[in-house]
Amino acid sequence: MTARIGVVTFPGSLDDRDTQRAIRLAGAEPVALWHKDKDLKQVDAVVLCGGFSYGDYLRAGAIARFSPVMEPLIEQAKAGLPVLGICNGFQILTEAHLLPGTMLRNNHLHFICRDQKLRVENAETAWTSDYTAGQEIHIPLKNIDGQYVADQRTLDTLESEGRVAFRYLDVNPNGSNNDIAGVANEAGNVVGLMPHPEHAVEPLVGTGRTDGLPFFTSILKKLVNA
């Protein structure tokens, strides 16, 4: 038996097919979800992928957050459904208040596409258990609204509860508070990050690294062993 992992396509989603490919390469079954779906087709987990949903007009993720599919998603995420938000998906999760903080325009104001070094800070979430805490990995980063900010109290909470999942290493590419690249919710089932693990799953394409694959094997193992 394998796990069925949903990938939501919003108008303007870009990395939906790439995310489905990454899920397949990890050995799980990708299930396409549409933003107008009113249920989640009984998937075991959901990925909100990267892109510019609704053109990122108004604010990144602000319009997508009100899509029909988000209603069951928010409800089930609160009940423990594993959800991963990548880039635009992370932005949607913060707009939906499933994760704290928000993303501002990069401090240098440019779109940036680079192979980014990260440190895995929390290897106990649903999506990071195949990493080890402290592991250094390279994952492509590509965005214009990637500066993670939160108020001091939220940052303190995140830090003290070990909910900073990933931190930028060597270069802080966008001015994010505390070099934060990704965070988890309290239960560890909802994780969001700006870099794109689905672009680091094959040696031949992209940066030629496969550092992103453990995201998808982590969740697969968790679901299959559950």
Binding site: Y54, G55, Y57, L58, I63, F66
Partner: protein
């Protein structure tokens, strides 16, 4: 001290994809009866000293050459009364 507000809007004839996306999302959220949305920028300039005609003219120049891209945007300049900050 006085505040000068510069509002920058896309010219009416220029397509505003952002406003359009917001407008289309409104019915879904249950906000009916809004036929058009246009999105712009508001700049608040805190001016040292009196806002006389010369100062306004300077701000007008600044808005024209810098804050607005007059190829696609219009702007307005107005003075806003600010209550003296409580010490």
């Amino acid at each position: 001290m006085a505040r000068v507000v510069v509002d920058v809007m896309l010219k009416p004839e220029i397509l505003d994809p952002q406003g359009q996306a917001v407008q289309r999302a409104l019915p879904r959220l249950g906000f009916d009866g809004i036929s058009d949305v246009r999105q712009g920028k508001r700049f608040e300039l805190e001016v040292d000293g009196p806002v006389d005609e010369a100062a306004l003219a300077r701000i007008h120049d600044l808005a024209e050459s810098f804050l607005a891209n007059t190829v696609i945007e219009d702007f307005t300049v107005r003075v806003e009364e600010v209550a003296e900050a409580v010490k």
